[in-house]
Assembly symmetry: C2
Homo-oligomer: 347 residues x 2
């Protein structure tokens, strides 16, 4: 682990992306999304993703100059063809256009197809906060979770995020995957020869396993048992079937050499809070409730009760000063990119 | 357990409700909702609720003649004041009005306040299917779930339901509470003097309990650990703060003698599928996916993979013929009502 100042890494990422034909303004969006994930403590969706993005852009498996088609199919609905661009570029533009019609109608839905991995779902929730928009964000992803009773991955780990702005305090961000755990953690355990906790995964026969290598041949379990299966299915229908994206096993995997364009889908619901309550009233009641939650009687051994979004914000504040930690494997890959594209890597 | 024909019980419920000043047409909606829950195998939200409804209506703690106020606060948003009517009456009307503006705008949100327990969330998903509407339905409810790290119930067991219509096949209905189990199941176990499985709940001191009555004084655990806490919070903000209903501990409990009007809130998002995809196309892809799910490789010992909504529909079909089973405790209460109101109870 080495520590880097986030602004320097952000500039590095943007510079590298411009070398593979991404416009600077758009490269900065992607850089911001990746670095913010590391700042917020979600490094699995952060800077470590850059090398694979660059590789796929160079191979034209991701389109560096996508021409988005945005169609307003109904007063409160946008259909967005991402033209196989980087997910962050596609999703930001789609979300921003959605904000306009949410402000007009009180509510908007944006259905995105022909997209790619878009980083953290929470990033898009945050885009709406400035305009007093709450949001529900979903995306599908390559197969990770089996149907309940099945033993082979079908659904993506399909996150759903809910975002609610709080003025001058940490925003409420609930960003959860439909699976118990990210597949990446199992890959890591297998690499290190460690076992995994019971309840994370099944082997190829559908039996629960604590053997990480066996788990990799099987599938990750849905969160909350059959409930996670239900959420994974709901997210798949919203994110893939409404937009007309690829679903389940047909989503292509950016990490697989032989796969084609990912054809990921996203679905956003944007909610204009002021169409429901005067802003000040909503904010006052939300803050009152959050305070009451934090002051609830605590279970033995618990020092603090947090609401979803607090730790993310605390991590962001802390690492914006102290810097972000990058794993040595990631640094190695970034240095290779730096050398290849003659872009100075931060020291 | 005694078995009754559902149509006879439905008529009985409607007749009883008219005796406590509910208009027949509205009484039939409530009867349909309760009996459908039993038919679909969700008896915790079914006929067993009638006695408490009647008691509260008689005490004027629930308004038998609510005058709903429906305000279109934005083109795609309805705010609905339920005037403390029975939840089913309020929610059905609110949902039906929402359907109209969803058809106009592609999407609609309906925020309901001053309402009561509305039965199964799935019931409202089903209302939209005829018009090719998908939906996301949430409601809050009296405190049941503690914040993560807390030991005292704060949030309701806050269900979220996703409904997607499937033509001439079982609709997809994902209806899940934020808790490990619906509080209704613990209420029912307490009523029947049964114990509950370990892992469902804690008592008022924060200790795990299998005693249903002790659990009702304590709290139900969130599903999927911290993820269930996040969903409970999201549902609470959507269902209570956007509509301006009571939240968390301020929602009054229909089962508590000294409580006042429940002030429950609901939140509906209605999605017009045809504003996204041609209906036939959506239906074709959804059916293809559901077939693939059902034909996924099965874990050892698994005979069938079901998608959410299939078992509910199978139960409905089966019990529509064979009849619904009512617990003897429920029957006893219904017979008392029959005697008091001179309404014949089905034999």
């Amino acid at each position: 682990m080495t520590v880097y100042q986030s602004e320097e890494i952000k500039k590095f990422i943007a510079d590298i992306l411009t070398k593979v034909n991404i416009d600077l303004e758009k490269a900065e969006i992607v850089a911001d999304s990746l670095v913010k994930a590391d700042l917020e403590g979600v490094s699995s969706h952060g800077v470590s993703r850059l090398p694979i993005y660059v590789k796929r852009l160079r191979e034209n498996r991701i389109n560096s100059q996508p021409k988005l088609k945005i169609e307003r199919s109904a007063p409160a609905v946008l259909m967005v063809d991402g033209d196989n661009g980087l997910g962050q570029i596609v999703a930001c533009k789609a979300f921003q256009e959605g904000m306009k019609i949410a402000k007009e109608n009180g509510l908007a839905a944006v259905a995105v197809y022909n997209s790619n991995h878009f980083g953290c779902a929470s990033y898009y929730c945050q885009l709406g906060f400035e305009k007093n928009l709450a949001s529900i964000i979903t995306t599908n992803s390559p197969s990770g979770i089996p149907p309940w009773g099945g033993k082979q991955a079908f659904f993506g780990t399909n996150p759903i995020a809910f975002g609610f702005p709080v003025k001058e305090a940490d925003d409420v961000i609930i960003d959860l995957s439909s699976s118990v755990v990210a597949r990446g953690k199992i890959i890591q355990a297998a690499k290190e020869g460690k076992s995994i906790p019971k309840g994370w995964a099944i082997d190829e026969h559908g039996h629960e396993t604590t053997n990480a290598k066996a788990a990799l041949k099987g599938a990750v379990l849905p969160a909350g048992g059959v409930k996670g299966y239900g959420i994974a299915l709901a997210v798949e229908i919203l994110s893939a079937l409404l937009p007309g994206a690829a679903y389940g096993p047909f989503v292509q995997n950016i990490y697989q050499e032989k796969d084609g364009p990912a054809k990921v889908g996203h679905f956003f619901i944007l909610i204009d809070i002021e169409s429901f309550q005067p802003w000040i009233q909503f904010d006052r009641v939300l803050k009152k409730m959050l305070n009451e939650i934090k002051n609830s009687p605590k279970a033995d051994g618990i020092q603090n009760i947090f609401y979803p979004g607090e730790r993310r914000a605390a991590s962001f504040r802390e690492k914006s000063v102290s810097g972000i930690e990058l794993a040595s494997e990631t640094v190695k890959e970034l240095v290779l990119l730096a050398t290849e594209y003659k872009v100075p890597f931060p020291q």
